[in-house]
Symmetry: C2
Subunit: 403 residues, 2 copies
């Protein structure tokens, strides 16, 4: 190692398959490794490896941590990611925002969550994001950010970094979200759909770790789906693949916000459940929900979940009906795409086992048997952290592939 | 070129990315090419290229056709696929079989089609296939086959070369179809689903040539779908992806052969149309169909198509109702997978523009606008030849990648 530590020089953009990118990804995914181990994993001759490592040391992305314990032969150098690397991960939902600052290994350093209304529009939301990051910086979570990843509740043109005709995000259509974040934080940024970042997080560190073809079904205010094909996220021709909330269940069904009738979201999801809960509270059919409404002035999908746990019959029925509708849509998609796993996550995944039981029943009844024979249908392991985990991962990919 | 022409030696199996495989694929896809052109396209040094070409000449797969016209510099050798290469392509449907013998460029040399009933079971069908190939051999279409590809109307375990729980193929479950064909014809064989081979054919030589993410919707006796993602066919976890005929439209709908209610195939497809046509003929609501029934003793989906062209109101309604049901299922799948193109093929694609108009109307009404904005929904360009074209292509891949 011939380079002065701490010197930072620009690094040209590299392909994801380059030795440098693979080396950085190995460190991110495995933690500090010895030069010898890296040489084995990358299958590089020693002189080439040393030269790549020198470049990365010079760029300040990795650190020489001294001698590594050696299994055999001479001791090797231990290499680690620079301890100052910080990613900003943002999971923007319809009614909530979760922010996490992670280190280079995507371990959380600090986090914040609060309720927001995405309908407030990009100016107000970005203002709030900037304030929250300023709080985190003041608390010492980071000095500067190396990259930012954000998920938003609508279709996204990932290449251009902007939401595209997002039905529940008025004012956000083609808003230059990536460019704005890059300007504000002085680092590269990437924008994706919220179900997509959750699916990426769950595949990286959750229950879908070893699965190549899988669906992450996000049940929040709306319903979306992240699709993984052959181990990679699939975004579709316009970046709107997985928009399953407006698949029609019944042409005679209730009106949906999208203008059509009988969409999945007209029956289920946070919006629909809140509506049904309020009706049940006001009509008195559910004393439990009526009490909640009286106490808080409002009832939400969360109240329905709590009521179901307490076995309030109306809440139980709402969860079961919703699960059944979701199961019906998923049954068709499973026959179509024949995945290896279905993961259910998002805010309403806290409806938990009641929801899961109903979804499973309908799917096993309705999909072709060969597609469901050994199909696991499970809840997200990462829960509310799936989104920020995925956002941090796609942010880290930006750093790994670019200077 | 130092190898005696006509000498045939075994060639070890090669990866699809090997120089030999790429060279054979270039010749298959472009026709005869000069050594100089091949060198450019393969980006190989001349000595390496000559050595690969010598191996292929020795194996008898390619032929030296003498001097090629040269654009600049010294003249180059013209190389062609061996003129004796023959592929056997079989498209087995529920009620029909199409066979084509092609040369190494997948150009048809001879073909046969006849009605069969796949329910007759594997022994009878394979007996008939053997007889048909014997006829074709007798007529001089081939001396021996280099590889065979077959599509069947049900889910297939491609790796093991056998149908898996095919609902409309009693007796075929796990029948060792590939092994039987390989034994019978003494060449490698590959088995796939019929919608899949059609989708592969349409992508290779049809309207989907330049499309990376697309759905080929086969409307025959049953309804199936070939799925292409990122330029490659996607078969799903158990090989049954695309089985869309049993997606449920209405839980109160008519009973389906699969035991459930309200499946797409319970409303539309060759089986459903024949049933509806017979009912309309017997009840007298359609004088056109009644006359067909009287004349032929039976009415089929084809009669409905002819009746629609002659603007018989009942036939028109049947086609429109069917198109509308199909459109409803496709609308959901389009929201989910956001493809770049939808191609409609299979036997009932001859219902043509009436069908297409109805499918389009429903899709444009029901899918999310960002997914349908510039989505072409078109009829198969290859028509009844889509299946055999795809079967020949997957057969040729076997030869290209193996001795």
């Amino acid at each position: 190692m011939t380079v002065a530590k701490g010197a930072k020089t620009a690094r040209p953009a590299v392909s994801p398959d380059s030795a440098q990118a693979r080396l950085l990804a190995l460190l991110r995914d495995n933690g500090p490794m010895s030069l010898a181990e890296l040489g084995e994993r990358l299958d590089l001759p020693r002189t080439r490896l040393v030269s790549e490592v020198d470049t990365l040391l010079a760029s300040g992305l990795i650190q020489d941590k001294g001698r590594a314990p050696s299994r055999v032969g001479r001791p090797s150098t231990l290499l680690a990611l620079d301890s100052a690397i910080r990613y900003g991960a943002i999971d923007l939902g319809a009614t909530s925002i979760d922010i996490e600052i992670t280190d280079g290994y995507l371990e959380p350093v600090a986090g914040l969550s609060e309720e927001v209304d995405v309908k407030a529009g990009p100016a107000a939301i970005l203002q709030r994001i900037t304030e929250l990051f300023a709080d985190l910086r003041r608390d010492g979570a980071f000095d500067r950010l190396n990259a930012i990843g954000i998920g938003v509740p609508g279709p996204v043109d990932v290449e251009h970094g902007m939401p595209i005709s997002p039905p529940i995000m008025p004012g956000w259509d083609r808003y230059p979200l990536r460019a704005t974040l890059e300007m504000e934080f002085g680092c590269p940024a990437i924008v994706d759909n919220d179900a997509n970042i959750m699916s990426v997080g769950e595949k990286y560190r959750g229950i879908a770790r070893n699965v190549r073809n899988y669906l992450f079904v996000k049940v929040g205010t709306g319903i979306g789906c992240g699709i993984h094909i052959d181990g990679r996220i699939y975004r579709g021709d316009n970046g709107c693949a997985g928009d399953i909330g407006h698949i029609r269940l019944d042409s005679r069904g209730p009106q949906c916000v999208c203008g059509n009738n009988g969409c999945l979201e007209a029956y289920f999801g946070g919006s629909a459940l809140s509506r049904h809960a309020e009706a049940a509270a006001r009509s008195g059919t559910s004393p439990y929900l009526a009490a909640r409404l009286e106490a808080a002035g409002v009832v939400t999908a969360r109240d329905v979940g709590k009521g179901a746990i307490q076995r309030d019959p109306v809440c139980l029925r709402l969860v079961r009906d919703g699960g059944s509708r979701l199961g019906e849509v998923l049954a068709g998609l499973i026959s179509f795409i024949n995945p290896s796993m279905i993961v259910i996550g998002g805010g309403l995944a806290e409806l938990g086992n009641q929801l899961l039981a109903e979804v499973r029943t309908v799917i096993y009844q309705r999909s072709i048997p060969v597609a469901t024979g050994d199909l696991p249908i499970v809840l997200s392991e990462l829960g509310s952290r799936a989104g920020v985990t995925g956002a941090a991962l796609i942010a880290s990919d930006l750093l790994i592939r670019q200077p």
